[in-house]
Symmetry: C2
Subunit: 221 residues, 2 copies
Amino acid sequence: MTGEKVETTTDRRQRLSPGERERLIVEGAITFFAEAGFSGHTRELAQRLGVTQPLLYRYFPTKQLLIERVYEELFVGRWKPEWGTLITDRSLPLRERLIEFYTAYANDALTYEWIRIYMFAALAGEDLNRRYIDLLEGQLLAPLCAEIRAAAGAPTMAESPLTTRELESAWHIHATVYYYFVRKFIYESKVEANFEAFIADVVDRTLDGALSAGLQPDGAS
Amino acid sequence: MTGEKVETTTDRRQRLSPGERERLIVEGAITFFAEAGFSGHTRELAQRLGVTQPLLYRYFPTKQLLIERVYEELFVGRWKPEWGTLITDRSLPLRERLIEFYTAYANDALTYEWIRIYMFAALAGEDLNRRYIDLLEGQLLAPLCAEIRAAAGAPTMAESPLTTRELESAWHIHATVYYYFVRKFIYESKVEANFEAFIADVVDRTLDGALSAGLQPDGAS
DNA sequence: GCGCTAGTTTATCGATCGATAAATAAGCGG
DNA sequence: CCGCTTATTTATCGATCGATAAACTAGCGC
């Protein structure tokens, strides 16, 4: 037992093309930083990758540049434009549009790695999150408010501008879905196992609440 | 300019009673760790307190013990039993109870320090959050479900047991309020400035949605 | 005022981290 | 099969962290 080498997979050193190795490092870094946070050590990352720590520095001159690459890989271009068009596609009932969107969004965006690294970045003071929220409000929440108005027969945005309180009503549904995954992946707490049923319930309650009484475009108290 | 001492407040060393000093350290640690996270360095904490770093180790033998003291200070006994009785007090309309509760809860619990340290602890893998969620579901969310059932004329919990899907409907409101403060204190993003109006809107949408269609105690699809 | 207690500081250790330089060897071209 | 390129490893540095030991001094009691 003592003095023996660990030899997890192959002890032999393996030469990969720079492209392959870089991809392995980036993907390993995403998984590793999602678990350990950005205060995770480069030596542990290297160990999980089965390489030595200085090798990382051949591909990424500093740890910070590797982190920024992780940001880029996870967040840049992750928003699919068709999601925006799906929300405004009035050939489908709004209920079906919302269920379809959040099912796709949960699968593609709200993953273990995404949720945790997003939160780590926010706590570290990155402006990444604010930029993402701007994107979300512009591409999803504001259009959603317009669709709810249309469904309720309320004035259009041109007739009555979007208020911050109305925007919060769109956050009402988005926050609930998002927090479902925070509880699942960050708190690692038990959540409703049937996500399909969960999202349908959330959409139904949201639409019923928003259409029956919650709509106050002029911000009247 | 060069070579001079910084001398922020008083350069003179000040002797405090152990009780006072300990309280200052704990309060300073809460503020500091809320900003920097638990990977924040003891030297920077000491500098903010205006003392030297080894002094911390006279009051807390290890950094970890100081962190656990911060947990204790922030989370243990923070839940007020009267919040649970407020929710079930049927002499008030459920709408008023919810608004009153979340106003008090936001003031007392959902502070900058609480939200951020709660999230840091969760990402670090502490079981603190799961225990808090158990408390929340037992003392707040499950009773709230019972109140919504009563308001809708649905069967009692004794007649039809609480389902996980129904519990998610209570998370619907709680997640929205919680995420409002996540956006405010963690993302440091712009949120609706009028919290009073925000919470009233959330409660109204939630009750309308839950009472009109969202109530399915038997979990029927 | 004087001395002792103990709160506080100075000095420093060992471990560990990010990062660098030099040695090693895998694997393709000839 | 041999030699060169370069991907990878070994060895190590300087900085910094948590933590410890010893020196210092503020301030209460007599």
